[in-house]
């Protein structure tokens, strides 16, 4: 780089008449090397650590890649055997259903709470809004591992403050030594609460930002026409908010569909596979049962499902003016 600099500067200074003006001649005809050189380092890293694994993932999913392959280095092509194995697996149906319901309940929960909160924030005085804003950003910023460990502690049998609280309220009887991770329902409940707590800040703050950019004239006009609050929300706020809402929804689907850390740290997919979602299943197949071929197949299926779910959005993004 430094060599290049000095040369460029010198040519510019010594030959101002344009005979040595490399940049101009470069742009007119022939190949311009500058962008290629600038792109090369990032391109090499991305091709090696992102592109190659992606190709390899697909290849592995068609191979018998188990412990033996790991040590001998030889892998046999098995066609669609891995895919057949996972589709026939007793777990496949429940896992798929679980992942779907889990994702849907989280997306709906986060969107509904986030939208309500954003609307609420527009009606708040500055003081309380600042406090809420601060708390939301704090929850958002907290690393997943930290918040998951705090959750573990909040819902800890015997010493967990939440169990104590629920027992004090008294609706459910004595919950003091209740183990939330002891049943699939209980485990999903606390994971749902944790993820909603973590994700709502993003949704609420994004939607609030979108809402505060809607010109006030629209609301004034609607109010003059005597529209009710609900009507105003539906006919003015929502149409303006649609692009932001769309983006938030897609991101929520991707994030929740791929939930791993919270589930893994709190339940490891248990009890009795009760909280095993697609991402947990792929991980278990690959790293617990050393069946890397089947794990890869699950990952490929997951990626394809996600692509179908978000494909519309990607197409729209590619077509939009953003891409020039």
């Amino acid at each position: 780089m430094s060599v290049d600099t000095s040369k460029a500067v010198v040519t510019g200074v010594v030959e101002p008449d344009g005979t040595g003006s490399t940049s101009r001649s470069r742009r007119r005809g022939g190949w311009n090397w500058a962008p290629a050189i600038l792109l090369a380092p990032a391109g090499i890293v991305l091709a090696g650590v992102l592109g190659y694994p992606l190709v390899r993932l697909v290849i592995n999913s068609f191979q018998d890649f188990g412990l033996r392959a790991l040590f001998t280095g030889t892998t046999d092509w098995v066609g669609f055997a891995n895919y057949q194995a996972i589709f026939k697996d007793q777990q496949f149906g429940p896992v798929l259903l679980r992942t779907g319901v889990f994702t849907l309940s989280l997306v709906i929960g986060c969107l509904v709470i986030g939208m309500a909160m954003a609307q609420m924030m527009t009606n708040l005085g500055k003081g309380i809004r600042t406090v809420l804003n601060f708390l939301l950003i704090l929850a958002w910023a907290l690393p997943t591992v930290s918040s998951t460990l705090v959750w573990q502690w909040l819902f800890q049998p015997v010493y967990g403050v939440f169990n104590w609280l629920i027992t004090q309220v008294g609706w459910f009887g004595d919950y003091t030594s209740h183990r939330w991770t002891g049943s699939a329902g209980g485990a999903f409940t606390i994971v749902w609460l944790l993820i909603v707590w973590q994700s709502v800040p993003f949704v609420a703050l994004t939607l609030y930002a979108g809402q505060s950019q809607i010109p006030a004239e629209f609301y004034e006009a609607a109010q003059l026409d005597g529209a009710s609050n609900w009507r105003i929300y539906r006919s003015v706020t929502l149409p303006f908010l649609r692009p932001v809402l769309y983006l938030a929804t897609i991101l929520q689907i991707i994030w929740h569909f791929n939930t791993f850390n919270q589930l893994w740290i709190l339940t490891q997919g248990g009890p009795d596979h009760g909280t095993t979602t697609l991402s947990i299943w792929a991980f278990q197949k690959a790293f617990a049962s050393n069946s890397f071929g089947q794990g890869s197949a699950i990952a490929v299926v997951t990626a394809i499902l996600l692509m179908i779910l978000t494909g519309v959005y990607i197409r729209r993004l590619i077509r939009s003016g953003e891409m020039q």
């Binding site: 290049d4 600099t5 460029a8 500067v9 040519t11 510019g12 940049s23 311009n32 500058a34 962008p35 600038l38 792109l39 380092p41 990032a42 991305l46 090696g48 650590v49 992102l50 992606l54 390899r56 993932l57 890649f65 280095g73 909160m117 609420m120 527009t122 009606n123 708390l135 939301l136 910023a141 907290l142 690393p143 591992v145 930290s146 502690w153 909040l154 010493y159 403050v161 104590w164 993003f202 703050l205 994004t206 609030y208 930002a209 979108g210 505060s212 950019q213 809607i214 010109p215 006030a216 609301y219 850390n261 792929a282 890397f292 990952a299 997951t302 990626a303 996600l306 990607i314 590619i318």
Partner: protein, 295 residues
Amino acid sequence: MTATQLSSAAGNAKTSGVRSRRRRARHPISFAGAIICCVLWAVPIYWMLNTSFKTRDHITSTTPQFFPVPFSFGNYADAFTKPGFLSSLLNSLVVSLGVVIVSIVLGFLASAAVSRFRFFGRRAIMVAILAVQMIPGGALLIPLFLSFKSLGLLNSYWGLGLAYVSSVLPFSIWVLRGFFLNLPIEIEEAAKIDGAGTARILRSVYFPLVLPGLISTSVFAFIAAWNDYITAYVMLKDQSKYTLPVWLVSFSTNEGTDYGGLIAASVLFALPVVIFFMIVQRNLVSGMSAGAVKG
């Protein structure tokens, strides 16, 4: 991913105040809802801090103690003296800072290329960068693990760092490109007339102007590398190599966990991320290029 970017929009919007003018009347329902939300979002954080400052017998009392009285730093002292805490903290710092530096350099160069030059395949590269962000990170874990295993990169910070760089790079390029596109072309032309070459323009013109973008992407890279659990969990086998999140989780699954020490360590782990996140929230609003053309 896009979270950081959008958060800046949230920060911007706060100042606009278009709507506060419109509705001066306070809504009692909204106010009540806000109070409830504040409590719900504050409780886990309060409880985290509360626990971390309690004494050991107050942590394990069947009736929860709502205030850390007597106040104690014992849990923090405890966390620091736990086997592996300091070394994993150091490991996390080394890996995260390495990732920041490498991803910033690579991201800066690549985003300059895709925003300041027109060349064949540029559009394809942008589409690829966008599409890559749709790939679930967990899916790549298996082939990455296998490749690193055959390359001998398991259990090494080089491998882990490379994995982090590749995961943050597409987003960094995307964000930095936005900062580049905001710069008027006249700046570059002026520099060229003054006789600056590409490298000189990058270093002396673009670098200072996209600095806010570099700061925010480096914070993003730091947070991503610092927070990651699953990649490090898969790649690192020696306990002495653990990064902080892996150490924290392995510590929590031990029988008879010392929750005071664990929660205090979690606070320490979260602290830099929370601080950086708050800084970026405000700093993303950049006024650097304003007045650069017409001063």
